[in-house]
């Protein structure tokens, strides 16, 4: 019984160390690890009561989109740093106080998971 417990503790410890090493490894920080699902993100982005991105942005597969914000294309070129894009969706008024974009994260319009999903989708455009 005691032996079994020790083995278990050892295994858990190893796994923890492995997780830490992974997290610290260059190029594999939390921002780059895909925590969102782009397919789910597309649905959320196109949902009128959630993302409703097309109210203001030209986007793929959307008829008569709005043009208040810039078209959502070439996103990885515009935002090489994915975290910057995330910050923009979280609260665009931080970077530009006059921005009329709703603060999807700060105001809880999307949940953390939904925001991560949308981030993956938008970043893929």
């Amino acid at each position: 019984m005691i032996a079994l417990k020790t083995t278990l503790a050892g295994a858990v410890g190893t796994a923890l160390i492995a997780a830490c090493v992974l997290a610290l490894a260059p190029g594999l920080n939390a921002a780059d690890a895909p925590t969102g699902n782009p397919e789910a993100g597309k649905e959320i982005a196109n949902d009128r009561k959630l993302g409703n991105c097309m109210a203001c942005h030209v986007m793929p597969d959307i008829e008569s989109p709005g043009n208040i914000g810039p078209p959502l294309i070439g996103m990885q070129a515009r935002y090489p740093d994915k975290e910057k894009l995330r910050a923009q969706i979280w609260d665009a008024t931080v970077a530009n106080p006059d921005s009329s974009m709703p603060p999807f994260g700060k105001h809880g319009i999307l949940t953390e998971q939904q925001l991560n999903d949308v981030l993956e989708y938008i970043w893929s455009l």
């Binding site: 709005g66 208040i68 709703p102 603060p103």
Partner: protein
């Protein structure tokens, strides 16, 4: 000591003059900026044409709107309102007893009532007239209030918007300032101010809708909106906008919306009244 005060005063004056519109934000200066902003943004639109809302800046939808205006959807409301105007209350008196200069009185509203220390709007005055004569007040968003407003505003067509902010009462200026703050304050979960859409983005597309410029925004109410399928009042529209940005709407004809109407109507001074109107 005196020198320091004088110096400071001089400095404040110089800075004030340099900052122009910011430090010397009088209602007159605000209004000049407001009206010039839209004319600079839409240089091909004659100033008076802004009373036609989005149709002033969008020739495509203007055509179908003009067709609608040939058989206006608010005609019934005008004749209903006329009937109301001419029908005596239970006590034998009529609206004319309250409004001896009626029915063409819309240009007088909203105004600052010094004795009461508040902005008085036309719908408020109508209900106060009713209550003074033993009649129940009308609901403020739609229905009979929109009918009588349609009649009064139709009779007032062509009068010029001429809101006054009396300089001898600082409370009037305070009400104006509150209305202005309301207009430019972001609110609701979506974090939009009135200005985000109608100052910053008129002419741009919100999905397939062209956002209308705020110059002229008060002249055509009450309005038949296709979206409503009926006529509604200005405060109903305020309330709807607030809900759309996910803010809790304020009481119609409450202090917030009356102050907002005071500010917003003052911004349109000089523009002719053309209500009732028809809009998408």
């Amino acid at each position: 000591m005196n020198k320091i005060i004088m110096l400071t005063a001089a400095l404040v004056m110089v800075l004030g003059l340099t900052w122009g519109g910011v430090a010397l934000a009088t209602p007159q200066a605000d209004q000049a900026i407001w009206q010039s902003y839209y004319q600079k943004r839409f240089p091909n639109v004659p100033k008076e044409d802004f009373i036609n809302g989005v149709y002033a800046i969008d020739p495509v939808s203007r055509e179908s709107w003009e067709a609608i205006e040939e058989f206006p959807p608010y005609e019934m409301a005008i004749s209903q309102g006329e009937k109301m105007w001419n029908t005596p209350f239970a006590n034998g008196k009529t609206y004319r007893d309250c409004f001896p200069n009626g029915p063409a009185i819309a240009g007088k509203y909203p105004y600052w009532d010094k004795e009461r220390g508040m902005v008085v709007t036309l719908p408020l005055a109508i209900n106060e007239c009713r209550e003074a004569n033993g009649e129940g007040p009308l609901k403020y968003k739609k229905g009979p209030i929109a009918d009588i407003l349609s009649y009064l505003r139709y009779q007032s067509r062509g009068q010029l918007t001429k809101v006054e902010i009396p300089e001898d009462d600082p409370k009037a200026l305070e009400a104006y300032e509150k209305g202005k703050q309301f207009y430019f304050a972001r609110r609701g979960q979506l974090n939009f101010s009135c200005a985000n859409c109608h100052v910053q983005n008129p002419g741009n597309l919100l999905r397939s809708d062209i956002l209308s410029p705020a110059l002229g925004h008060t002249t055509h109410f009450p309005v038949y909106r296709s979206k409503w399928g009926e006529i509604g009042t200005l405060h109903r529209r305020f309330s709807g906008c607030n809900k759309q940005v996910r803010a809790k709407p304020f009481k119609v004809q409450g202090e917030e919306y009356r102050n907002l109407e005071y500010f917003l109507t003052y911004m349109q001074n000089g523009l002719p009244l053309n209500g009732p109107g028809a809009r998408k």
